[in-house]
């Protein structure tokens, strides 16, 4: 695998050619916030939190999807990036009704943690308070659209790892919504295998196990480690 050299935050690093900026940064302990990204799933570049400044590029680029190249000069944190990331998470908090205090995922939520980490103590935008339904028709799991951030991890893991492609998206823009089996109640889905991968990968309390009450839902992902790691390496043309 050809090696390359690039600069991140004024430090020189060498890396493999097929790696993304995000992988290299994390390998060296440089923190870049992410939300829609999940190692081993195809990168989407939707949440825009991993935007980094790349010298010569007029706009910041998403680290999760941008492949490293020889001589790149990258800055992972700046006043502008910090401000942008804050605004993006604020937009997510305002978009749907993420009432942390009554959420199954309280204190175990990636969005909640991210907000605190980015220094968000209030949201400057209007809360949209969309009237969105819940789908509790499945026996073991439930879906609360009010907590969904549309990261599409569920869609991607269901398609690429479980191979069921139960989940997809309907509508567009701010009316986009996750749907099972071409917009049927999840309980009526015939493609869903009840594997629970979507539930465990969901960063918020949008997908959860029934029976959990406030703060009780913890996501257990270790059973996916091996398969996701294999996929991650395969994307770089390597194997375990």
């Amino acid at each position: 695998m050809p090696a390359i050299t690039l600069t991140i935050n004024n430090e020189l690093f060498s890396a493999r050619k097929e790696q993304t900026i995000l992988e290299i940064a994390r390998e060296h302990g440089i923190d870049i916030p992410t939300l829609c990204h999940f190692e081993g799933l195809e990168a989407m570049g939707g949440c825009r939190l991993c935007l980094v400044e790349l010298q010569g590029s007029p706009r910041p680029v998403p680290a999760c999807i941008t492949k490293a190249a020889e001589g790149m000069v990258i800055t992972t944190s700046s006043d502008k990036l910090i401000e942008y990331r804050k605004m993006l998470v604020e937009l997510l908090l305002a978009e749907r009704t993420h009432t942390c205090s009554i959420c199954v995922q309280n204190n175990n939520c990636e969005l909640q943690t991210l907000a605190a980490k980015l220094g968000i103590d209030h949201v400057r935008f209007d809360y949209l308070h969309q009237q969105l339904p819940m789908d509790a028709s499945r026996e073991r799991f439930a879906l609360d659209h009010n907590r969904c951030v549309l990261c599409l991890r569920c869609v991607r893991v269901c398609d690429a790892v479980e191979g069921a492609h139960t989940w997809d998206v309907r509508g567009r823009g701010s009316t986009s919504r996750i749907v099972a089996d071409l917009d049927r109640p999840w309980g009526n889905s015939t493609s869903c295998t009840d594997c629970g991968k979507c539930v465990q990968l969901c960063p918020t309390g949008a997908l959860y196990k029934k029976g959990a009450t406030v703060g009780e839902m913890k996501k257990e992902r270790s059973f996916l480690n091996r398969i996701l790691e294999r996929r991650r390496l395969a994307a770089q043309g390597r194997s375990l």
Partner: protein
């Protein structure tokens, strides 16, 4: 058909046309049809049938002739006489024109457009050369005007590299709005390696107020086919797609017929014009998403996926349709290709200004006297478009601003009226060339309201993949609504600006990145209007209702209302 037969057919058709003592061209573009053009055609057809369908009288239902607000239009051609155009033609008027012309009397002057009308005289029609001159459904008429000759020339006299070079020399740039040099793109795709290559024409025109592509596809479909075929030859593709938006059924139907006719004539399909080049074109219909005008979303849609953009690189030139190198250009860009080879790349690049060469088609609309479709050389001052071609503002209004580039563009204020209209100059003003929508606004327009209109459009059309566009558009729209209804605070104005700048920098695709442009450009040129709304709760143009109150005032008003109720002893 081989090249010789093509020339013969052109000659024969031309002779037939020249032998006519009278040719009546009725504009059957969509606006003219809406104004009653079909009745005009029917009346004329009846008269001609009554006369026994003489071979030297020809009636043609053409595509768009241009001045759309004045339809239905009738153009009369007589040998040895200047052509004459009537506006707002009724069936009666059309019949009078026909009869007086047959009796060689003086033609009626009622509704006759002047010979030196600047709307026609100031234009340079290359792409629109055939629009309004031919029956869009007639292959012969297209051929009679030199159609497919450029393709024949490319196939028989030029190597694919020559063709790419020709396009580079012409200086043509993408007419969809991006302005990327077309020749360079062709060379890139030509050099890309792939088992197959594809050509895609983007006809998913969606800007409010823009209908250049629609009109071109409806009025001169073969021109686009020819442009695509030349591109296919140049880059080494054997398959092309035209992506037509679903709202343009007539365009799709005409293109379909054109493809069938061209295939039958050996101008498309296998062994085009007796050469070794084979090329098929198929139509793909959009399902009504603005974002599918973005190239990666469009390609996804053609492949049957959800129409949403993906991150570039890889660019379609490397990995487009099914991972193969794909050339994607706007239909107007393809419409320019036959002209480049018929007049020669040098002659083509003689038109224009700076790095913007050739001509540009604009849909001129809004508060101008002459609404319609125009084609002008790049670099023409905006003033000339508005005041000479457009005939100034309707009802004596004063020019306030012109919006170019639709919801992705910006406005140009009155003090910049002398700006040459080309890619660089418009960008310097914070607007873009865009696909060619040009909306003229008078003093009666409120710029905040205009920005809000475009933002409403964008929030509706955002695909929802990335956060800044999906939610940012909604929040910006709410802020603008508050400014328009009088309940905004100074801080809202500040948040608005922050959000716009962030969205421009962080959105995934061009739609999101350009969505704040109307706000940023109105803020740049008309900041005082925003201030008036927020500080003085006043809409200078008198458009916004301003019937809501900011919270602090709302509180006072409610309290007053309640104390009044209490005095009356009523319950509330």
């Amino acid at each position: 058909m081989n090249r010789g037969e093509l020339a013969e057919l052109a000659e024969a058709t031309l002779q037939k046309q020249q032998a006519c003592r009278l040719r009546l061209l009725v504009c059957c573009g969509t606006p003219c049809v809406a104004a009653g053009a079909e009745a005009v055609v029917a009346a004329l057809r009846e008269q001609l049938t009554g006369l026994g369908n003489l071979a030297d009288l020809e009636l043609v239902s053409t595509g768009c002739q241009g001045p759309c607000s004045r339809g239905p239009l009738l153009t009369v051609l007589q040998p040895g006489q200047p052509e004459q155009v009537w506006e707002k033609v009724t069936p009666e008027l059309a019949c009078t024109v026909l009869n007086t012309a047959l009796q060689q009397q003086h033609l009626p002057e009622q509704n006759l457009l002047p010979q030196d009308w600047p709307f026609f005289n100031r234009q340079t029609r290359l792409v629109l050369a055939n629009s309004g001159r031919i029956d869009p459904e007639s292959l012969e008429q297209y051929i009679a005007r030199g159609g497919y000759e450029s393709l024949a020339q490319a196939l028989h006299e030029m190597t694919p590299d020559d063709v790419c070079d020709g396009v580079v020399q012409s200086g043509l740039r993408g007419r969809g709005g991006g302005g990327y040099p077309t020749g360079l793109k062709w060379q890139l795709v030509r050099k890309s390696s792939g088992s197959r290559k594809f050509v895609v024409a983007n006809g998913d025109e969606g800007d409010p107020g823009a209908y250049m592509d629609r009109s071109l596809m409806e009025s001169d479909p073969h021109r686009i086919l020819e442009g695509i075929a030349i591109a296919g030859y140049a880059i080494g593709a054997d398959q092309g797609y035209i992506y037509v938006r679903g709202e343009y059924p007539v365009a799709a139907q005409r293109l379909r017929k054109a493809i069938k006719d061209a295939e039958r004539a050996g101008l498309l399909g296998s062994r085009v014009l007796d050469s070794s080049f084979s090329f098929r074109i198929d139509i793909r219909i959009g399902a009504g998403a603005f974002v599918c005008g973005e190239e990666t979303a469009l390609l996804g849609s053609i492949m049957g996926r959800r129409g949403q953009p993906r991150i570039r690189p890889p660019y379609p030139a490397e990995a487009g349709l099914w991972g193969c190198p794909t050339l994607i250009n706007n239909v107007e860009t393809f419409g320019n290709i036959p002209s480049i080879f018929s007049i020669g790349p040098q002659a083509f690049s003689a038109y224009g200004n700076g790095k913007s060469r050739g001509t540009k088609v604009f849909a001129l609309c809004g508060e101008v006297v002459n609404n319609g479709l125009i084609e002008v050389p790049m670099g023409i001052p905006l003033r000339e478009i508005v005041y000479e071609i457009g005939g100034g503002l309707a009802n004596g209004a004063t020019f306030k601003a012109a919006q170019t580039g639709g919801p992705s563009g910006g406005c140009i204020p009155a003090e910049k009226l002398d700006t040459p209209v080309d890619y660089e100059n418009l960008q310097a003003l914070g607007s873009i060339m865009g696909s060619g929508g040009l909306i003229v606004m008078g003093e009666q327009s409120c710029m905040v309201d205009v920005a809000r209109f475009f933002m409403e459009f964008c929030l509706d059309e955002s695909c929802g993949k990335c956060v800044p566009c999906r939610t940012g558009t909604v929040e910006i729209y709410r802020l603008l609504s508050r400014i328009c209804n009088g309940s905004a605070s100074q801080r809202d104005l500040q948040t608005l600006e922050q959000l716009c700048v962030m969205m421009k920098d962080t959105s995934l695709c061009g739609l999101g990145a350009a969505a704040p442009n109307p706000v940023l450009s109105t803020l740049r040129w008309f900041r005082q209007e925003y201030e008036a709304h927020v500080k003085d709760r006043r809409c200078p143009a008198g458009v916004c209702s301003m019937n809501e109150l900011p919270l602090h005032l709302l509180g006072e008003q409610l309290l007053q209302r309640i104390s009044a109720l209490r005095c009356d002893g009523e319950e509330y």
